[in-house]
């Protein structure tokens, strides 16, 4: 509940920011830089005099977009791979997919993300790709594991008796029954994606200015933390609360969806 509420707050803030933000963040107001929270600026201003509340709202957009697309990449590629591997267990295809997964897992993900963005240039897009790549094996493994047990179910056998092929069964029978798992894992990867984006942006390899990003706000505020702690506090809290919200929501969803899944399929 709390999780869903927190998530909604930030998703809502991101959405509202398309229509309205308290201040235009593309306008710098150097004269008003580094002001603590006040009536005019509830969360204060940053080193360029921008309104931190507005920055956080627009930054939520970046964080959510990056994490969402990265999860999308991971699901979009990982789910079919996992389904294929499960459909053809023990085959060469399965072996190749699983070894490939192991390989990606063997790389320290953040390190490689740093390499990727270092090689291809720092940008939100490359951050998405780097985070997305490491989502692929997560989903592939999850789906394969779940699908393997589903493949032993009698209803799959019944579908085969009805003359359906592996691809069709994967889509009609396996996929719908792993969606719950995907939703739960998706929320978790989503929150990890937000953390990863923040980390990459913090070291300067994520979203580039003028696109606001929570991670970069933290990086910018770092040298000012001793005299303007509000600049570091609020973006950090935004990350913390969003990730916390997503994790709580993931747990909640698991509790909500899992027993039904178990009851449905015994």
């Amino acid at each position: 509940m709390l999780g869903a509420a927190l998530t909604l707050i930030f998703a809502g803030a991101a959405l509202i920011s398309f229509l309205w933000v308290p201040y235009d963040i593309t306008q710098l107001d150097i004269a008003n830089k580094i002001k603590g929270p006040s009536g005019a600026h509830p969360l204060g201003t940053d080193h360029f005099g921008r309104d931190i509340l507005s920055m956080i709202m627009v930054g939520a957009r970046t964080s959510i977009a990056v994490a969402l697309v990265a999860v999308g990449i991971g699901m979009g590629l990982g789910v079919p791979l996992g389904l294929a591997a499960a459909a053809k267990t023990g085959s060469l295809l399965d072996e190749v997919i699983m070894r490939g997964n192991d390989l990606v897992f063997a790389f320290p993900s953040l390190l490689i993300a740093i390499m990727i963005t270092a090689v291809f240039g720092a940008s939100a897009l490359n951050a998405i790709i780097a985070i997305g790549i490491f989502n692929i094996p997560v989903f592939a493994r999850l789906v394969r594991g779940a699908a393997l047990s589903l493949w032993t179910r009698d209803y799959v056998l019944a579908a085969r008796v009805s003359g359906k092929g592996a691809a069709r069964i994967s889509v009609e029978h396996i996929l719908p029954n792993v969606t719950n798992l995907l939703i739960v894992q998706g929320t978790i990867q989503f929150s990890l994606g937000i953390l990863a984006e923040a980390g990459l942006s913090y070291v300067g390899l994520g979203a580039q200015p003028p696109l606001p990003s929570w991670g970069r706000m933290l990086a910018d505020s770092q040298t000012m933390i001793s005299f303007a702690p509000h600049m570091a506090l609020f973006p950090g809290l935004a990350i913390l609360l969003t990730v916390l919200g997503l994790n709580l929501m993931g747990d909640g969803l698991r509790d909500l969806l899992d027993p039904r899944l178990r009851r449905g399929a015994r």
Binding site: L28, I30, K33, P209, P210, T223, M224
Partner: protein, 469 residues
Amino acid sequence: KTDIVVAMQLEPPHLDPTSAAAGAIDSVLYSNVFEGLTRFGPDGSVNPGLAKSWDISDDGLTYTFHLNEGVTFHDGTAMDAEDVKFSLDRARAEDSANAQKALFSAIADVEVVDPATVKVMLSEPNGNFLFNMAWGDAVIVAPESIENIKQMPVGTGAFKFTNWVQGDNITLEKNGDYWGTPAKLDEVTFKFISDPTAAFAAVMAEDVDVFTGFPAPENLPQFEADPRFQVIVGNTEGETILSINNKMPPLDNVKVRKAIAHAIDRQAIIDGAMFGLGTPIGTHFAPHNPDYVDLTGNSAYDPEMSKALLAEAGFPDGFKTTLKLPPPSYARRGGEIIAAQLRAVGIETEITNLEWAQWLEQVFRGKDYGLTIVSHTEPFDIGIYARPDYYFQYDNKAFQDLIAELNKTTDPAMRTDMLHKAQTIISEDYVNGYLFQLATATVAKAGVTGLWKDAPTQATDLTAVYWAE
């Protein structure tokens, strides 16, 4: 107390000042470990170094240097004219890896007269020659120790190199056999702290005694307010400019460049990026130089005029270009501010943050950029505008002739005149957006005395530093 910990942002890649551009090498070793024939004083003046005096022939083509006697390298070998010849010949050789080879291009020959006298023949007169010899790239090294110089630098200075923990620190100790005024400190540790936050924390926590080139101007007020510390703000030779690719349309249009210049609010940049540190400039010349002309009026902040100029140039709705930024915070922060200011007059910029290596590759060598921000820290470098292949790609015959003339001229008054002219030409051609002269801030513990205020060259000369009671 006779030891000191001096922190700086960048670590030298290796310890041979004569084969790399990295200013960090000079920051540690210049004057402390290595010395040249001449040397820079704290005010930027050229003073005698290993050469106690010199004679210049009337045609300006022959320099005869008289060396100090009894000078030894740290490994005990004597420093004599042979070493000078070796050093200069090495720097100008075909396969030389000297990053500032141009400094030596005027030299035609070097001749050893006797162990204490060396004669340098030039191919044409050069008003800057003594100045050139003061650079860190022109220090005197010994053939005996050249092999391992990158790891084990052996010089003639008041300090001896002792140890290097890569990634962390370099230590020097007092040279007991120094030929000149001995150093007051017994031991010096240079610590490398690249991260501005860490820099702040390290000073605050008193992990270091001095931080030269303190990277976060926003923290200076706190140090100033704290009686434990002193803050020394000085000039550098760094003209911080918004470099413009003069060959890339529409930036090849002088009206467009002028529009850019008028769109920029220098003071906002100095306040926003440097927290007030820095002197506005209107041309590529250091304001503390006596030959400086204040031309900031040529590019006063005037967005309306800027818009008008853009419309005149055929871009009433503005245009789009790239803004590539190297790592220092003046560039990164300044870039964001400039982007916002340019956006206000209709010019959209796509910001790309680059590491130095990428910047050198893409911008400096590849000339693949529209705008960039960089500080040109070489002293007295207006001559770069005479190089059409330089990354601004500014090609003005009149200016090139002027500089060629200047190089040959030794008469001070005429030089001043020509320099004024040169500054005006580039300012009125709006070659680049001239922002501010980079300031340098040194934060030190209250008792530290004898530090340089300004930075006429990249050096941390500790030979006169001591702890006051």
